[in-house]
């Protein structure tokens, strides 16, 4: 099973639900997205913009973290 696709329009809540492994990226990038009241409304692209993170690098980190966990755990969240 492949990791759910992450895109600019994915909300933080959707992205975290589909790929919990991106938590580490959100923390490492010093965002306050984990547990944020607005996670249901804010997109990954908006988060990158408000925290001043270059979008391409952000997406590639997120995707790598998501894919990594999916290959390690055979697509199962543990």
């Amino acid at each position: 099973m492949s990791a759910p696709q992450l895109s600019a329009e994915s909300t933080i809540a959707e992205a975290l639900e589909g790929s919990p492994a991106i938590t580490s990226v959100l923390i490492a990038r010093r965002t306050a997205c984990i547990g944020c009241y607005m996670a249901r409304f804010c997109t990954l692209h908006t988060a990158a913009a408000v925290y001043g993170i270059p979008w391409d690098a952000f997406l590639s980190d997120l995707t790598a973290a998501a894919l990594d966990s999916h290959s390690t755990f055979g697509g199962e969240h543990v």
Binding site: A32, C36, Y37, M38, A39, R40, F41, C42, T46, V50
Partner: protein
């Protein structure tokens, strides 16, 4: 009353009651139903009954002499409320209990409960546990009120509401609320809420209309609520 001692043991103040003791409580009590928005009791009424909520939801509201309301807590089934009369004869309820939906509660006569507690120290200890946890909660509420700026409290209330009931719209997140609701939730006056919302409006963070707020810059509000700005 169609409640078993087993069920009643879910109430913190009754958790070490024996079947016999709890049967006595049930035998002395009656079940009261209150419709949505109606009251189990009003602030200042003689505290003749202690209540155990059995169904529905109830909020405890306290008002000051100017009529400004503060929401003290929301109660869920198997929580005890209005128990002041159990420890103080001729006591008066310090707050009003309003049903947030059609609700039912077991009404236990305060006199009966007071006598019961006197003869059963383990039940007194359970009640003290409950009171100790209320005091701790009030202390942390007080800390929040004393140390957080009012703007921060209002902001937190707006965000809490948005996360629970906000709707995504074209240029932001919209929620329906009145200034009175917000004032009640953040321990301030509707006047202060209006002043703060007008300021946020001017700074482009929200668009504040009548009975609704559109959040235009969610991140700015999050920073404000978390004290990051």
């Amino acid at each position: 009353v169609d409640i078993t001692p087993e069920q009643l043991r879910q109430v913190v103040a009754f958790r070490s009651g024996s079947d016999k003791e709890l049967q006595q409580v049930l035998g002395a009590s009656t079940l009261r139903s209150v419709e949505d928005s109606e009251y189990f009791f009003l602030q200042g009424d003689p505290a003749e009954y202690a209540y155990v909520l059995v169904a529905g939801q109830v909020k405890l509201l306290q008002s000051n002499t100017q009529g400004q309301l503060v929401n003290l807590r929301t109660l869920y089934p198997w929580q005890l409320f209005g128990a002041l009369g159990a420890v103080r004869a001729q006591g008066q309820y310090p707050a009003s209990a309003q049903a947030l939906e059609d609700s039912g509660a077991l009404a236990i006569p305060s006199n009966f409960l007071r006598e019961m507690l006197a003869g059963h120290p383990h039940l007194s200890m359970d009640l003290m546990q409950l009171m100790a946890s209320y005091i701790q909660e009030m202390q942390s509420r007080y800390m929040e009120l004393a140390t957080e700026r009012v703007e921060q409290r209002i902001c937190r209330a707006v965000l809490r509401l948005a996360s629970q009931s906000g709707q995504m719209v074209k240029d932001g997140v919209e929620l329906t609320l009145s200034r009175e609701d917000l004032a009640e939730m953040s321990g301030t006056t509707p006047y202060t809420v209006s002043r703060v919302l007008a300021d946020w409006h001017r700074r482009g963070m929200v668009e504040a209309g009548r009975e609704r707020v559109r959040i235009l810059q969610p991140h700015a509000l999050v920073q404000l609520a978390e004290g990051l700005s």
